[in-house]
């Protein structure tokens, strides 16, 4: 199966994409396009099966955010840059369950990290943050994400340094 990952377009058909998660399905079907085109809340990239052009079989959404310098606990501030810390938020990543188990999630994550790396060259960003479902924490850990607060939240907020991604690309 040949897939293409690209930005969501108005003509795409996300209706049949079923990630077996109501919130993720709902976001893709009802909000992703509006949030990208009208509200500029997040940019969604979709995986498309080349044999069924327009049919979405997985997606991820990216946005930028920051950690305000003043919000850090005082004892940590000294070692930090004198500015707010810009981050990229991997807001959502999901695969249609019928296409699961074939590495599509990895392809989507890989593309999300490539986009993040390119964006970091253009606008500056220090790390990628993901709010992972507890069931996905181990999967993200495999790619080097570190949980910021263990066993506390659901979802679990995780961190990956942009320099680690850059190093991975250099090795490649």
């Amino acid at each position: 199966m040949a897939t293409v990952i690209r930005r969501l377009e108005e003509s795409d058909s996300p209706e049949n994409c079923d990630c077996r998660d109501e919130a993720l399905n709902n976001y893709l079907k009802r909000h992703a396009w509006n949030n990208q085109q009208k509200s500029s809340i997040g940019v969604t990239y979709v995986a498309i099966d080349e044999l069924a052009p327009g049919a979405v079989i997985g997606y991820f959404t990216l946005a930028t955010s920051s950690a305000l310098r003043d919000s850090f606990p005082k004892k940590y501030v000294r070692g930090l840059p004198a500015y707010d810390v810009p981050v990229i938020l991997l807001a959502r990543l999901a695969v249609d369950h019928r296409f699961g188990g074939h590495g599509l999630g990895r392809e989507l994550l890989s593309e999300a990290l490539r986009v993040s790396l390119r964006a970091s060259k253009q606008v500056g960003c220090r790390c990628v943050i993901v709010d992972a479902y507890p069931t996905a924490v181990e999967w993200y850990q495999r790619y080097g994400f570190t949980a910021l607060e263990v066993n506390k939240r659901s979802p679990v907020r995780m961190y990956l340094d942009i320099r680690t991604i850059e190093a991975a690309r250099s090795v490649s």
Binding site: V4, I5, R6, N35, S39, S40, I41, G42, V43, L62, A63, T64, S65, S66, A67, S71, F72, P73, Y76, V77, G79, L80, P81, V85, V87, I88, L89, A91, R106, L109, S110, L113, R114, V115, R118, A119, Q122, V123, R126, C127, I129, R142, Y143, G144, T146, L148, E149, K152, R153, R157, Y159, D161, R163, T164, I165, A167, A168, R169, V171, S172
Partner: protein, 132 residues
């Protein structure tokens, strides 16, 4: 008698410029595709074919780099957009939108520690994911 290729004003013979060579292993179907394209485009040499292909690719990259889409339009107005994964990599990212994250104090503490330390070495899975 042919004129010697001399560097102007020096009397020295100019060094012949070596053209870089390009060699490619082609699968049989690629070979026949190249032959067919050469025939259709009335190109006789591989060099000319390569040069035309590079010019086309260069144009496509330059268009996509500017964020332009490459579209074909039929006589009845039906449009097809060229989506080539390699080409998509040069397309500029539109500025990603900004959202607010509500951090807990513990998250910020851990985040500060990570930001102040050396970046972790990439895992094997990450290296594999970034390949290609």
């Amino acid at each position: 008698m042919p004129k010697a290729n001399l560097v102007k004003g020096t009397g020295h013979r100019a060094k012949p410029t070596r053209k870089p060579k390009f060699q490619a292993d082609l699968a049989p179907f690629e070979d026949s595709a190249v032959r067919s394209l050469k025939q259709q485009l009335q190109l006789t040499s591989n060099s000319d074919f390569f040069s035309e292909a590079v010019a086309l690719f260069q144009w496509a990259v330059s268009e996509r780099r500017q964020g332009h889409r490459i579209v074909s339009e039929s006589a009845n107005g039906e449009k097809k957009i060229l989506v080539l994964p390699r080409l998509e990599r040069v397309a500029p990212e539109s500025a990603l939108p900004q959202v607010r994250i509500d951090w807990t104090e513990k998250e910020l503490g851990r985040l500060a520690e990570l930001l102040s330390s050396e970046p972790a070495k990439p895992t094997e899975a990450l290296v594999r994911a970034m390949k290609g």
